[in-house]
Symmetry: C2
Subunit: 320 residues, 2 copies
Amino acid sequence: MSNSKITLSEELQRFNPVTVIGAGTIGISWTTLFLAYGLTVRVNDPRPDLKEVVLNGIEQIKPTLKALGLPTENLTDHLEIEPDLERSLQGSAVVQENGPERIEFKQELFSKIEKAVTKETLLLSSTSGIPSSEIAKGMKNPGRLLIGHPFNPPHLVPLVEVVPGEHTEVQAVNDAIAFYKSLGKEPMVLKKEIPGFVANRLQSALFREAIHLVLEEVVSMKDLDRIVTNSIGLRWAVGGPFLTFHLGGGKGGLPAFLKHLGPNLQSGCKNLGNPTLDESTVQKLSNEAMNSYGKVQIEELENKRDQKQISVLHVMNNQH
Amino acid sequence: MSNSKITLSEELQRFNPVTVIGAGTIGISWTTLFLAYGLTVRVNDPRPDLKEVVLNGIEQIKPTLKALGLPTENLTDHLEIEPDLERSLQGSAVVQENGPERIEFKQELFSKIEKAVTKETLLLSSTSGIPSSEIAKGMKNPGRLLIGHPFNPPHLVPLVEVVPGEHTEVQAVNDAIAFYKSLGKEPMVLKKEIPGFVANRLQSALFREAIHLVLEEVVSMKDLDRIVTNSIGLRWAVGGPFLTFHLGGGKGGLPAFLKHLGPNLQSGCKNLGNPTLDESTVQKLSNEAMNSYGKVQIEELENKRDQKQISVLHVMNNQH
């Protein structure tokens, strides 16, 4: 896609307009992406500086969207700032919720939401940890509720984990997939609800060992990061862990790999670390992080990273 | 770098010639890379079909080197096939060993090697698991011995883990770094010997959870792979796990991240899986792997992956 005028695609028409609840980092990122795809977006949040925060956030994200090839001219033409929850929901086709990560809060919020929307409205929560079966307990008709958990930030990283609950109708899952696909995302449906879903669990598993290796002084934080970008990071950008080992098993594929290296893998896993993040450990890690990365402004590091990220995404898209 | 004639750089002259011991996948990959950088390479291995295996291997790797921008014309001009260990070592500046992963084997091998080389010869082992302090036990003068563990395949993936043992001289570590850097690699020195070194430990930690999620039927193998390539893989290709979370903590960086999400991370880690790779589990995983990836030839999958990998590497090199 190359930058042109903002237009609402045919596929997205039935998902218009969208209500975004919660104007934190994730909510503003979703908002900006939705706007670039021509959707009318109503942003709802009780914060008094809502308009300012949203407009500033959109301005910051604009260059990234442009670099991704998305149109950014007149981006806020279809933006509505609506601090009143009920009004923000009137006639919306989709709700993308990004409120605080507390079960009771979300239960209460969605019981209010269902009263203000139609029975066709697709109800999506960005939660990274709360299963929709829990959120649904405050609702009368949770058939259209499910999780659409993005990997941060949603305007840049393709993955959206789509996680239906016990109560979710099949049609709602299909609609969520269609919605995210029409936005250029990669929705992946999980077959079961599990705390942390998939991407964050995998991330935590690796991060736990990363912390262990730094605490054991095997390697510095900065060196560990460079080890990852120069090996498994590169590998997993182009093929997941199973495919990587399938191709690491010679002509026999993953079965041969598991047969020959499985026992090593198993015994190796017994030696993996399990550090405790107590106060002094957090302090130690924080100090090293600031020594490693604290000299450069976060924004500068972020811009540099995002530029590389966009280049890598372009490569991947061109080779699909 | 763009394809041109093979020349030996000034930095590499003191590392010429090189003996490669063991003509398996890793040994042949090293051989081909060394040749492209103008080094004279003596390949040693007791297998009767040595010449054929090496020449075929080099032919297969050639297109990848070419795509990486390395010269491949007359690639085998400085290749020597030498089935006799002692003769293959005469006057060599560097030995890169890739033999079987058995302690006794390597102890015996290096005790033979040290008798045939000079005291200046740099002795590098590609082992992925055996510390050089163990290998050194069979040697009289192990000061020049250390680990140079590549991430497979060494001609493509930049990382080389450089791991000195108790016995390794500082100069040998510096020489190993200089050698690998002159070959376009990213040598990373570990501060301590630890089983599995760093990259493979991190890989195992994530893979263990990946297996758990597939066995628990949260997600299919293929979907898990796509989740990784569309989130953490992309992320870790451009920034390691610490930098990623440093940029995920808002303006407060990693300290803020650990403060706010540390407790969640800690409790989340308690729920991570620890599957046992018994025979029926291996069978189950093998079946799913063949159903997911078995319909396409390994070589075809590998070529496709390597092409993407090269494109990503180009992007990263251009943005250093």
